[in-house]
Amino acid sequence: MADTQQQEEELNFNFSAIDSEALAKIDYKMVTFNLAGKDYGIDIMTIREIARGDRFTYVPNAPDFVRGVYNLRGEIISIIDLRRFFGLEPQESSGPENILISRIGDNTLGIIVDSIDKVVGIDSRAIQPSHPLFADVNVRYIYGIVEKDDRLYIILDINKIFGDHHDAENLSAGEPSAASSFQAETQAAPADAPALAEVQAAPAAEKIQAEAQTAPAAEKKEAPDKAQTPETPYVYSRRTGQLWDDELVKAFSAIVPPKKSGYLHIWNPGCGKGYESYSLACAVLEAGIQAVPKIYAQDNDFAALSAAPGLSFNPDEADSIIKKHLVESPSGWRMSSEVKNMVIFEYRDLANKHVFPGLDMVVARDVVSFLKPEARDNFYAELKEMAQPGVILVLGDHEKRPMDENAWQPLTANGLSVYKKI
């Protein structure tokens, strides 16, 4: 960085004012556009051209977001309506539509958006991962967020849009919930509604924290097992990705099993960066049980998990109960060692079997809805095997009913989805 400073000084010598941004490198350019009042961007390297058109040839039995096919100077390409693709309110179109022609490899796709803006260059380092609160568009398709010139752009992952469009096309809409031979093969297979925890909204979004940068052996990333066309975006539980507020802490401490001796084993799959696990630990301490609590916080997102043991917080954003457990350290405010010793962060893939030394409570919020069938089956199998009567299970706020309904009794608990093993 000394070089940059020197450069800055030299330049300052010659010019009156230097925009420090000019020294940031521009290594990512995106075509920006507007959709339903928000600014989006797509990597320019994938955009071939821009077109305006309105004569699309209808394709029967295609998913509803496919407007048809279009003749682009002799080449026939599919046109998708991004509003419908994302499950947003469709807009009555009057006249020619604005289309981004995107190409990846041999595949070309036309994407209809509200209006196309301009090319914006940014420093790729400035791209931030998407925030859970941004989930009005399916989070799965968001590559990241970046701010430039006072505007916030949501950068879309065009590969995912291509991929899902492909799968959806291959599946050919028609009977979305019919159990067909496709189900076993394609990832875009519709969710098995009866067997699964029923979700109020079709879980089309991928788990936010599952943006693993450490790539790819087959089992690594748990892609969503989702309905083929997104109906409504998935609604995450309260305080996902954040420390809990007092109300949520109290709601949880009320349901912690009051074990008197030994260890209290809590399984917390899908812990992500650890906000939930630490909050849960504080709630358990608040409950004041006598057994020694141990929380097994697990995730297959290595990047998020690596940050968890050393996670630092802003004490001003913490509510009173959790704030009690924060201590100041040279590297920021952290959880007290009492809390940290309670939580064991583990890197694991739910598709693989794992043995626990006894299980008293399971906190799996917004996890089951996002598991691939193999992982989900294994999860339920482990649960069935290890949960003795009395074990408490907490699912996401909008997840209802564990698979084996007769084995779990629902408890009313302050807006939480809580069940007790019978």
């Binding site: 690596s306 962060f345 043995v355």
Partner: protein, 154 residues
Amino acid sequence: MRIDYINPFVESAFSVMAEVLGCEVKRGEIYLKGSTQTIGGIATIVGLAGSVEGRVLLDMDNKTALNIASAMNGEKLTEIDDLVKATITELANMITGHAVTRLHDLGFKFDLTPPAVITGENMRIHDIGVEALIVPMEMPIGMVEINVAIKERG
């Protein structure tokens, strides 16, 4: 596998191999597996005990084993004999020992068990109730997979 254990193993594998073999070592992406098909050839297994239960496995094919043993002994070896096996075992010991030392500094106390060498083609490793973390190490002289499975003790 506990996140705190992962880096010490990855770093140790990397630094020991780079130092001992004197060649370029590239670390592949780590991943988890429920059961593993080994590369086939030679595998060395070192047990872990203490506050955890588990094992570390070093997995490579015969050609790579010969290259490694040759580099470590300073002479060209052509057959998988006792010297080669002992050398590979030594490498496994070094990597595991190095990792355990680092873990000790972090407050985790592990013990090692004496290593064993297994030879054969198409070997399959299956762990019960614990996943294995695979760290692929790629070098000009061949590829080695570090295969670690650790479980907390009740």
